[in-house]
């Protein structure tokens, strides 16, 4: 197995571990941390394939993923803080009503 395939497998494993974290964590903030881990796995695969192919397009897409991650963490943490302040929710199993 070549080194590029090992990098791609590592990125996919990091992505799937982040997905598992989204499924099993109780706290809303750690669920957001798991989504950041998923984005990191995608970035790793993009840069690895890019370095193998000898282009720079994948690194530019990784740059955009970084931008979206920064925007997502700002909006997501704002949502969690306002949800906690309005309802007192902190765990993912507490949010069971669409509107109440």
């Amino acid at each position: 197995m070549s080194l590029e395939k090992a990098y791609i497998l590592l990125g996919i494993l990091v992505f799937l571990l982040g997905l598992l974290g989204v499924m099993i964590r109780k706290n809303l903030i750690t669920i957001l941390v798991s989504t950041e881990i998923m984005l990191n796995g995608v970035n790793l695969v993009l840069v690895a394939v890019d370095s193998y192919l000898g282009r720079v397009d994948g690194q530019i897409f990784a740059l955009f993923v970084l931008t979206v991650a920064a925007a997502e963490v700002a909006v997501g943490l704002g949502l969690i803080v306002s949800l906690f302040r309005l309802k007192g929710y902190e765990g993912s199993s507490e949010i069971v009503h669409l509107r109440d």
Binding site: L9, I12, R25, N40, N43, T67, V81
Partner: protein
């Protein structure tokens, strides 16, 4: 030599990620996430992407992790203590599902062939900058709009209701 660096960094990364999703305390989880970000920056450096490695350190390891820690300090600790750890039943169903998906994707990747390399990159930062400001100029401008919208949304969500 490349395999040695890859093995060390990937072992570090996997230990950090598994710690980040399985440790009980949210603050410890964020510290494990910081460790995994550092490992990924090392992997980027070993892949020859210096610009993305530096941005990863600046954006993730400084901005985002500090933001998480600041938000955790605004939430009372007793409330956080009630919801730490993981759901056991979801782990029982989720772990086999994720393992099966990883097995299928790994079979595809190991048996498949990668595309042929099309060229070599000399100076990485120079090439990234040139491509970013010629071919990808419009998505770059759209990214600035996304950041502006996220900033306005965060301000609107975070203000106190009168």
């Amino acid at each position: 030599m490349e395999w040695v660096i890859f093995s060390f960094l990937s072992l570090w990364l996997l230990v950090s990620v598994v710690g980040a999703i399985f440790v009980r305390n949210p603050v410890h989880s964020i510290l494990f996430f910081l460790s995994s970000v550092l490992a990924i920056a090392g992997l980027f450096l070993s892949l020859g992407a210096e610009l993305i490695a530096g941005l990863q350190l600046i954006i993730y390891a400084v901005a985002i992790v500090v933001f998480y820690v600041l938000v955790i300090t605004t939430i009372p600790w007793e409330k956080v203590k009630r919801f730490e750890g993981i759901y056991k039943r979801e782990l029982i169903f989720g772990l086999p599902a994720v393992s099966i998906i990883f097995g299928l994707i790994a079979y595809l990747i190991i048996r498949g062939n990668l595309a042929e390399p099309v060229g070599t990159v000399g100076d990485n930062v120079r090439e990234v900058g040139r491509t970013l400001f010629t071919s990808y100029l419009f998505p770059f401008e759209v990214a600035s709009v996304i950041l502006l919208v996220a900033m306005i949304g965060a301000i609107l969500l975070g203000r106190k209701e009168e």
